[in-house]
Subunit: 418 residues, 2 copies
């Protein structure tokens, strides 16, 4: 069976740690599921779980091009289907299917499960994925979904409505998006399940849809023609017309860690980074990515997050509404994770940008900071800058671009004129 992790766009719900270049799925704040002393990101956690379940060898990540570097930095060399631009879920799923065919040897009859990149779940979730494949094969259903057994009448989730119950799966009668609480209570009584956003089907189903659009069914050709695919969701384009929809129930932990109050609940420590907490705090978390120390005292039910993009101080309750608060707020990202290291903006004005660039040992970086000219000064480590030997104190004046190779971990202060 193939598994595709569908990576959504960037969001502001975990600002200031998430920005246009770093989405919430890449923030390393969660305990490693198999080694709680280490901290991993959502995508690293899921990938580890896929490996443990024996599903990683057929797994693929589908994401926007801007996420390529951070994905490789976090997961290493895993298969990546890169969306040349953001469209919607149908184009992304179609591109992934062509990748499976062109690059991973998938046949039209093979089964694939699409899952979100950021489910916070226990290992049972991945065993349930295997059952989805069995149901596709056994029943001839077009699409099999995963439905979590509701634990309370949430008005935040979508519900899968049951028609008939079978051994291990149900027939799907329809869907209900985010019902009011009393409605949700009624639905649960009737056996409705939370829609986990998981789709399992034969690869051919989507290839046929592509043919219907006269679109190519190989990866590189579809990549080039991506802009011509309709900007439509998979739900609208495929799910609504699918025959014999089934769903497999999942009983176990299934959480959305999309806001600071839900994410901090899962952290194994109350602080991260350089934080001094007095003993007068209650249910308070502080996360600090800056070198500047953070001191927290006398706070209750509060989250403090200090990062290059901003400093957030919020009650946990209000942190769920961050997206609305930041609607008007525009700023270019000040922290960027690259395959070879990180770039942090430490100062900027009208005329210049000063960044601290860290290049990991053995890595090569090409900096092109849209500047008229660049001044690079090495403040740690050694390497080659535009072919010349560079060590602590070496200074280079460069043009629009500079090639840096790090022998040891190399840290530079780079001043770019706009």
């Amino acid at each position: 069976m193939y598994v595709v992790l569908l990576s959504g766009g960037s969001g502001k719900r975990l600002w200031p740690l998430s920005n246009d270049l770093r989405s919430k799925q890449y923030i390393k704040l969660l305990p490693d599921p198999y080694d709680p002393t280490r901290q991993v990101s959502m995508v690293q956690r899921v990938w580890k779980q896929l490996e443990r379940a024996g599903l990683a060898k057929g797994a693929l990540v589908c994401a926007g091009r801007s996420q390529q570097e951070i994905l490789q930095a976090e997961l290493g060399d895993v298969p990546l289907a890169m969306e040349p631009e953001r469209r919607d879920t149908f184009p992304a799923i179609a591109l992934s299917c062509t990748y499976l065919v062109s690059k991973m040897g998938a046949k039209a009859d093979d089964v694939v499960c699409f899952i979100p990149v950021d489910p916070y779940v226990d290992d049972g979730y991945f065993e349930t994925l295997k059952k989805l494949e069995q149901v596709v094969k056994a029943t001839g259903s077009d699409i099999v979904l995963m439905g979590a057994e509701p634990t309370y009448p949430s008005s935040k989730y979508g519900y899968i409505l049951p028609a008939q119950k079978h051994e291990g799966y149900i027939d799907v009668a329809g869907f209900k998006e985010k019902p009011e609480e009393p409605v949700a209570r009624e639905l649960i009584k009737k056996g409705a399940l939370w829609n986990c956003g998981v789709f399992c089907f034969r690869v051919g189903l989507v290839l046929e849809k592509l043919k219907g659009y006269d679109a190519p069914t190989t990866y590189h050709a579809l990549f080039d023609a991506y802009g011509k695919l309709p900007k439509r969701s998979f739900d609208y384009e495929v799910l609504e017309s699918a025959k014999n929809l089934k769903a497999v129930p999942f009983v176990g932990m299934w959480k959305d860690l999309g806001t600071w109050n839900t994410l901090t609940d899962e952290m194994s420590t109350n602080t991260h980074g350089r934080v001094i907490m007095s003993d007068k705090n209650e249910n308070t978390h502080a996360i600090n990515e800056l070198d500047i120390p953070v001191v927290v005292s006398g706070m209750k039910d509060t989250v403090v997050v200090a990062a290059y993009d901003g400093i957030l101080v919020s009650s946990k309750e209000e942190s769920a509404h961050l997206k609305d608060l930041l609607k008007e707020f525009q700023q270019s990202p000040m922290y960027e994770e690259k395959k070879w290291g990180v770039v942090k903006t430490i100062d900027q004005n009208e005329h210049s940008v000063t960044t601290k660039v860290v290049i990991q040992q053995g890595m090569c970086a090409t900096l092109s900071l849209n500047g008229k000219c660049m001044q690079v000064e090495v403040i740690e480590g050694s390497g080659l800058i535009d072919g010349s030997s560079a060590q602590l104190g070496s200074t280079f004046s460069c043009g629009k671009e500079v090639e840096i190779k790090a022998c040891s971990v190399l840290v530079c202060i780079v001043v770019t004129l706009r």
Copy 2:
């Protein structure tokens, strides 16, 4: 009459805005008493009040050497008695008296008032100072104090105990430091006053004490011999043996803005710097000196302060105990105000320090950052660096020292190797 503003040492009670180089008296967060649209520091506010009361022409500031630059930056060219090292209040007061004699033409018989540099008071305070002088002259008292009429039985202040009441002043029977609340209540019933830390006396009183120690009575000579003066308080060395102690009552606003909860009470706005406050906050203040935006939501009775030295998030109540919390915390200052501008540390590691240096128009700066070598890059403005013309993009490699002259406001990124 002469007036000396005695500037205390640095403190951590207003961390992170106060550090070893910037004390609380220099932080510009208070409304200008005569133009509430402008913000001034404690020392600027007091100086303006002295001017308004006609007392500035005989006024002097006494402070540690490390405060010289910031005092000149904030007050301009006012008379400064500089302690070559920190000892205690007796040496500081004695040095100030010699300054009055050597530099300002004071005679032994002239009267001087010593006041703290940071009283948050109304203009009546300065009119009361004039009464202190009259009482010294009229009664022949060695020392006349100012006593604020208590408004509640505080256990945080010292009390002046009355012997006999006269028209406009009292005879002092003794003192009581920080009594328990019930004791304070009894004292107030008997007419005790809060000790404002103001001493008024004839200059000769202290000159005689200096002679008793065989210490010089001229400014430069005492400056050189400063290390030999006893490390003792004025209270111990002079006040306790003084004859005919009197005190003049002061009725009016008199506050100690030494902690964040008291200081924020006096701010004219709830935010300072780049701050986004949601409409879900209550009695919350946010002060931001960084370029990184601060977002505050859902907070109550909280103070948030973001500066180069640190980020504080505290309930107002706990902010009064900051000094204890930071007892163990040691860090060199990351923000330094100079006569010619400011130096902000934007990055540092084992091998290097990167600073952003702002030099005001027309000013000259000598940088000597204890480094082996320095790299200076101009990112705004123009001027002369070690005699050569410098503008946007100019880069200089320097040795231990560099001379910078700013034609317009000049901003540089300076990387120093340790």
